[in-house]
Amino acid sequence: MPQTAPQLLAGAVAWRPATPASSETAERARLTPGGPLQDALCDLVKEFGFQGAVYAHLGHAVRALRESGPVTPLRFVASSVFDRRLYGETGALEFDPMITDAVRSNTPVAWSTAADPRLTDAQRQLHARLRGRGIQAGVIAAVQDYAAGPAFLNFYSAFTGEAERCLQERAAQLVFAAGVFHERAKLLALPTRQAARPLLTSREIDCLRLAAMGLTAQETAGVLEVTVRTVEFHLKNAAEKFGASNKVRAVALAVSRGLIQL
């Protein structure tokens, strides 16, 4: 006898759009101790009738999405350990086809794992992982936070129709819910350890900061009491780490990611 979709998903999915009878199973399936944010995210998942969701605050690192490899979100909340694994441990933010476009939009965007000839191999693998979890489609609601950098809520659904219907009927509520969740997350969640790991050495940051203030390499050398060649060495290394072609570009990227403040 073929299994229905809810039976297939029962063991692997955080929340069904629960009938009271199945909420106990869902509670067990969640596995990880739920903080207030995870609880709030699960409530949203239930309210909008999805199977799971992840929240990621990309911060200004979003500017690097196409420039320098994987991006570790500043804050990350998943409705279950399964959802966390999809992103947190695979670094999927780097090539997730939905995210690069969706985070720049202010209206929610629907996506599906249906075959698309434009996808790269890495993107196909991610979609295969999602399908393996019974996820067919979803909706991304981005939060355009100009001060702290963009964030998004990505809801997963087992049925393409459900995601699209939710988008058509409740887009405004999704945007509102995402905004409220983002504000709560900023207050309650500490930035993840990986995101806090310094990309640059403190000396490189010193040189970039002084360059951003308008000092020449000669003047910077005087301030830091090192030789001009050392300053040029630090600036060259900083530019290389950013994949930047010159000093001005490196300074622009460092400012945009909040590594140096003016």
Binding site: R104, Q144, P150, V175, A211, A212, G214, V248, V255, I260
Partner: protein, 83 residues
């Protein structure tokens, strides 16, 4: 981005933005189809308006103040509508 609130003219913002992308004056001149001297003129004028000591500092200030967008983070055109 609220252009009307920006102290920079459209040309000055474009020149600064290309500088932030790592373009040399020569490359900027080629991209905008202007002479190198015109680029230098726009840059000097932007540097003065931002009260910055030089080009690097002007780019840093413009990025910090949100006067120029770096391309990977350009918000969608409707980004302001729902705020």
């Amino acid at each position: 981005m609220n252009r009307s609130a920006s102290p920079l003219s459209e040309r000055e913002a474009a020149v600064l933005r290309l500088a932030a992308l790592g373009c040399t004056e020569q490359a900027t001149a080629g991209a905008l189809r202007l002479s190198r001297r015109t680029i230098q003129y726009h840059l000097a004028s932007a540097v003065e308006k931002l009260n910055a000591p030089n080009k690097t500092a002007a780019v840093a200030r413009a990025v910090c103040a949100g006067l120029i967008d770096l391309p990977a983070a350009e918000p969608a055109e409707n980004a302001r509508d729902l705020r």
